[in-house]
């Protein structure tokens, strides 16, 4: 089933940072990996990825560098910084709270706990 995109948009930063936490990647690599890991459930629109990456770079959460691949193509790699890790932790915590609340509402077909 196709996941509802609304669920995804607020957490794109979380996904991007998580992907980078595992190692430096370039833009397309992130999209491909996300598709692979989510069994094609998530397709991230490039139209949102690059603005997010550039925004994170402005904030100092990621650094970038260009590297030339053997094929002759230059790729811009992104690297998560210490500040980026802190942001990732914040986003994870946010997500945890968010998902717990959603779970609570969904599970609470029965009256809410006092």
């Amino acid at each position: 089933m196709k996941a509802d995109k609304n669920l995804l948009s607020g957490s794109t930063t979380l996904l991007v940072l998580s992907l980078l936490a595992a190692g430096d990647k370039y833009g397309y690599e992130m999209i491909a990996e996300l598709e692979a890991k989510s069994d094609d459930t998530f397709t991230l629109k490039e139209g949102t990825l690059y603005p997010i990456l550039h925004g994170l770079e402005n904030d100092g959460a990621v650094n970038s560098y260009e590297k030339e691949a053997p094929s002759g193509r230059t790729r811009k790699y992104y690297h998560i910084t210490k500040k980026g890790f802190r942001l990732l932790d914040d986003k994870k915590a946010e997500w945890k709270v968010f998902s717990e609340k959603v779970n609570a509402i969904v599970a609470g077909a029965s009256p809410a706990t006092a």
Partner: protein, 214 residues
């Protein structure tokens, strides 16, 4: 995969780098330029300190442009007069490109408080200007009459409104001869209505030595 071959520096890092370079360059530049003095007033203050005059209150800023005189005529760029108690200090400053330097030394003149109107400039080098101390607060203009010689002795009179506090500055058309002293000059001062408030006695030498009939 190779980690971090050549990381592109972030904007913030570049800004910090530039700021550090600036912080290092500025003192070095100042030393290389031999510690220039940025303003005319500071140049005057340095003259004050170097002559152990102490920090006086600046009572007159002799700025030829502001006074409307041709600087060439006055033979000076800029000068200040400051006062500490009964002592007046006069020093010139000159501009060197963007900065200022004291020019010449500082001349200190003691004002006799028993004289409400006194010519101080007699103790200075020959120049085309005079400095008169005035203790009367209601005086708004002053006049100096002095002997001049071009073909024969006669009297010249100049009148000025106060540009400074407690003193008057006169720029003359001709060179003030070094040998003139305060006893060869008559001073008068007037209030706002034009009334004569005070005048110094008419010098005896006018009719005597100079043979000027008035």
């Amino acid at each position: 995969m190779v980690r971090h071959p050549l990381r592109k520096r972030t904007r913030k890092q570049k800004l910090i780098c530039d700021a550090v370079i600036l912080l290092l360059c500025v003192p070095l530049l100042i030393a290389v330029l031999d510690f220039p003095i940025p303003t005319a007033e500071l140049a005057f203050r340095s003259a004050e300190a170097r002559h152990f005059f102490g920090r006086g209150e600046i009572v007159l800023d002799v700025n030829p442009d502001a006074l409307g005189k041709d600087a060439q005529e006055l033979y000076l760029n800029r000068a200040f007069v400051s006062r500490r108690g009964n002592w007046f200090a006069y020093a010139e400053v000159r501009r060197e490109l963007l900065f200022w330097q004291p020019s010449g030394g500082l001349t200190a003149l003691e004002h006799d408080p028993s004289k409400p109107l006194e010519l101080l400039a007699a103790k200075l080098w020959a120049g085309r200007w005079l400095l008169v101390a005035c203790d009367l607060p209601e005086a708004v203009s002053a006049e100096v009459t002095y002997p001049a010689n071009d073909g024969g002795w006669h009297l010249n009179t100049r009148r000025e409104t106060a540009a400074g506090q407690g003193c008057f500055f006169f720029a003359l058309d001709e060179v003030w001869q070094n040998r003139y002293g305060p006893e060869e000059v008559r001073l008068r001062c007037y209030d706002a209505a034009g009334n004569l408030i005070y005048e110094t006695p008419t010098p005896a030498v006018w009719s005597g030595e100079y043979g000027i009939s008035q």
